[in-house]
């Protein structure tokens, strides 16, 4: 149900499609340190039946179950990494909102810094070439080029 009307929203707008309910009071742990860890973890875990919502934001029953599960693992003494591993083993990589680095996600993580490096390299090369060109004396225009220049300048006002 939620999904269907959210789709309506998504069709038209750039408002994200979630009617959040966030974590419920009865789910929260007494221990504030554990609860804080649970919240941080919840924000990195996807509610798998929702559109791009973390389990921390979603009101879907599955998100509720996962929130409770995360808290159970934390109370059982798991580290943050162990909780994530547990969920990945159960639900696959899809559950992580921040994909782990692997051969599959190499391009995902590599491209942003890679593109920046390529951009910088291109700029440095272009600057070097420009500097080289700037030192050469500007070539005089040939007679044919002069004529063409004049034609272009004349054309620009006409027609």
């Amino acid at each position: 149900m939620t999904r269907i009307f959210l789709l309506g929203l998504i069709l038209v707008l750039s408002v994200p499609a979630s009617v959040g309910a966030v974590v419920q009071p009865d789910e929260m742990l007494q221990n504030p340190v554990l609860e804080a860890r649970a919240r941080t973890l919840s924000q990195q875990l996807r509610c798998m039946v929702c559109q791009n919502e973390s389990i921390d934001e979603s009101d879907a029953p599955l998100a509720h179950d996962l929130r409770v599960l995360v808290r159970e693992r934390l109370q059982a003494g798991d580290s943050d990494a162990q909780v994530l591993d547990f969920l990945v083993a159960r639900y696959g990589e899809f559950v992580l909102l921040k994909p782990r680095l692997s051969w599959r996600t190499a391009m995902l993580w590599g491209l942003p810094p890679g593109l920046l490096l390529i951009g910088i390299t291109l700029l440095v090369v272009a600057a070097a070439r420009r500097r080289g060109r700037a030192q050469e004396p500007a070539p005089n225009l040939t007679a044919a080029e002069q004529a063409r220049l004049k034609k272009i300048l004349t054309d620009s006002g006409g027609s």
Binding site: L7, L9, L11, L13, S14, V15, D26, P112, L116
Partner: protein, 661 residues
């Protein structure tokens, strides 16, 4: 009858678009001024017919003509008038009509105000504009016709999606579309320049006002959507890195880069080829934004199959326009001459830096948004790319950009004095350091990133002020003289300062609201108190309230200072719409300065208690205030005399040449 009229008008508009898209181009090839001039009347007539179609649909909605399928599916006679009107674009078909209305409106504007354009450029640009319009008209007529009738007209409509029954719907989509579609002008001019194989600095002068206008609309459109999400979604988030949001952010990033590179092109004749490419990319991203989101392909590969015709059509439009434009670019761009030399440390250099980081940031958003899709299509593996990824890639790209931002306007063209500029920024830098230290001290050992970003925000704001102070010499000259200088400054200089200041303001708001906000989640019974920041709220009970087409269950909360002073009442509610049997969360917001208290209700519990989420969002309004400042900056630049007057008339050059030789 009215619906049929609208349908017919749209078909006529398609016919006109086909004429406008071919005849003027034939004219430019055969050097026939009559054929070229056809573009103007056809652009005007096309707009008139599309406006007729839009009006026809609007009338169907206003009179609640449920024999029209689109009205039946998205409206209801009980809805307030304003929502009956805004539901025109609260659905796929209707929003496409809005899209083409704006597209042809811009085309008509170019036709009317383009008198100082060279005839060939104008004819070509209007023709390209018509190709886009034709594709959209065809798309609407073949796959998304809003004028389809139902044989047996029902008595009542199915109602607009309750989430969309909000004043936000009146502003957000039109502004967003003004932005998306406004970039089509830059695209058309870029393609026209490529067709002609010639481009000069005047091109940038002509295109820049359109880019600026589109950018302004997109800025407030995105900000408005963000504020809407903030108060609607019930937990105070304002940006989610959702594919839908990313779809609007990408054209904004590319458009911002375009805005800056066009300055270099206009002032110095450099970066021409790059600017053309950016113009193409910006509108391509707008198209992708409009379409990929609609096709549902971002949600799941399989939703494409829901309406294969629509999906294939969308794909075809994207391939033809983006692929075609880039192919044309690859073929013709080498013909364009580069010009304008500059040293790496210069105003141009700073703007190139801006472009490098903006486009890389844009690319990283693009990759993050589409990578899961590509991976699933190629390997079948499903991964999620969510906010943590974007924060980790977009953030590091955006921060250097903002750090360098104040330097740009202080550097000279061609060859800048970095040391001098840095010295002039000394006061701003000290201020930023102090802000950083203060934030760090108040925070008492919290995350280091937040005070750092706050410092960056301060240096951006102080840098913008420094820029104006340096130009007016306000600290060195008598105030009266400085004031005269300030009035005499080109409006575009004020525009830059305002917009840059706005970026700092937004950044500060983001940092404060995310890093220093507080949150309380609790189950409350009548009479319970909950403290947050310097405030205390008391729950005094639930009551029912009937709206025009919904029923509210309202929670009443008294807000006091912790010391007991009464401040006011907040009334968040759960709103139920019987027609769709849906419930939404209506949060209550109380503004204190630029900070906000935010209360939202969970489902009422069986024992009569309520689940309450209470947030204190410090400086949160700065986020949107900053966007308003960016808009104001854009408006100031747009009012600059140099843009209004337009580019120098080529005729003068000709006369000068003749007299000279």
């Amino acid at each position: 009858m009215i619906a049929e009229l609208g349908h017919y008008a749209l078909m006529l508009a398609l016919g006109l678009a086909l004429i406008q898209g071919t005849m003027p181009i034939v004219g430019t090839r055969t050097n026939d001024p009559v054929l070229m001039s056809i573009a103007v009347p056809t652009a005007l007539a096309q707009f008139a017919f599309v406006a007729t179609a839009f009006t026809a649909l609007a009338i169907c909605y206003v009179i609640s003509d449920f024999s029209v399928l689109n009205v039946f599916e998205n409206s209801n006679s009980q809805m307030p008038f304003i929502y009956r009107l805004t539901s025109i674009w609260g659905n796929h078909e209707g929003s496409m009509i809005l899209w083409v209305s704006i597209l042809t409106f811009f085309g008509a504007l170019v036709a009317v105000f383009g008198n100082n354009l060279p005839a060939v450029l104008k004819a070509n640009a209007l023709a390209v504009q018509a190709w886009i319009a034709a594709a959209f008209h065809l798309f609407i007529l073949m796959t998304s016709n809003p004028f389809v009738r139902i044989p047996q007209a029902p008595f009542e409509g199915q109602d607009l999606n309750p989430i969309l029954q909000d004043p936000g719907l009146a502003f957000h989509p039109p502004l967003l579309y003004l932005g998306y579609v406004g970039f089509s002008i830059a695209f058309s001019f870029a393609i026209a320049a490529l067709l002609e194989g010639r481009i000069d600095a005047a091109w940038a002068r002509w295109v820049r006002p359109w880019v600026l206008g589109a950018w302004m609309c997109l800025t407030v459109g995105i900000a408005g959507g963000s504020y809407w999400a903030y108060y609607t979604l019930g937990w105070g988030g304002f940006w989610f890195w959702d594919p839908v949001e990313n779809a609007s952010l990408m054209p904004w990033l590319a458009g911002t880069a375009l805005l800056h590179s066009a300055v270099v092109m206009e002032k110095r004749g450099a970066l021409k080829i790059w600017t053309i490419l950016l113009a193409i990319l910006t509108f391509s991203l707008s198209l992708i934004g409009t379409f990929l989101v609609r096709s549902g392909v971002l949600t799941s590969v399989h939703t494409f199959a829901n309406d294969p015709m629509r999906g294939v059509f969308i794909l075809a439009i994207l391939v033809v326009f983006i692929g075609g434009a880039l192919a044309l670019y690859g073929w013709r761009a080498p013909l364009l001459k580069q010009g304008g030399l500059f040293a790496p440390i210069s105003r141009e250099g700073a703007l190139v830096f801006n472009n490098l980081f903006l486009t890389t940031a844009c690319a990283s958003v693009f990759i993050g948004t589409l990578y899961p899709l590509a991976l699933e299509a190629l390997t079948g593996a499903k991964i999620s790319v969510g906010p943590p990824f974007f924060n980790a890639t977009f953030g590091p790209l955006f921060i250097p950009l903002t750090v360098v931002m104040p330097l740009g306007p202080l550097l000279g063209w061609k060859r800048g004095d970095l040391l001098g500029a840095a010295q002039r920024l000394l006061a701003a830098a000290i201020l930023a350091m102090l802000a950083m230290a203060a934030a760090f001290a108040i925070e008492q050992g919290g995350p280091v990133l937040a005070p750092f970003c706050a410092g960056v925000a301060v240096i951006v704001m102080a840098g913008a002020v420094t820029d104006i102070a340096e130009r007016t010499l306000v600290l060195r000259l008598p105030f009266r003289v400085a004031l005269r200088r300030a009035i005499g400054l080109p409006r575009s200089a004020w525009g830059t300062a305002f917009a840059h200041f706005g970026v700092g303001v937004t950044l500060l708001g983001i940092v404060a609201a995310t890093a220093w906000g507080s949150e309380r989640i609790a189950e409350m019974k009548v009479g319970d108190n909950l403290d947050i920041a310097r405030y205390r709220i008391t729950f005094t009970g639930l009551f029912g309230r009937q709206g025009p087409n919904y029923h509210d269950i309202v929670g009443r909360f008294i807000v006091r200072r912790v010391n007991g002073d009464l401040i006011g009442v907040m009334e968040p509610s759960r709103r139920t719409f019987p027609t769709r049997n849906m419930t939404t969360t209506e949060a209550a917001l109380m503004t204190r300065g630029v900070s906000q208290l935010y209360v939202s209700l969970g489902d009422p519990l069986q024992n009569g208690n309520v689940a309450v989420r209470l947030y204190f969002k410090p400086q949160v309004l700065l986020i949107w205030l900053g966007a308003a400042l960016m808009f104001a900056g854009g408006a100031l630049s747009l009012s600059d005399r140099r843009l209004r007057v337009g580019a120098p008339q080529p005729a003068k050059t000709k006369a000068a040449l003749h007299s000279a030789g």
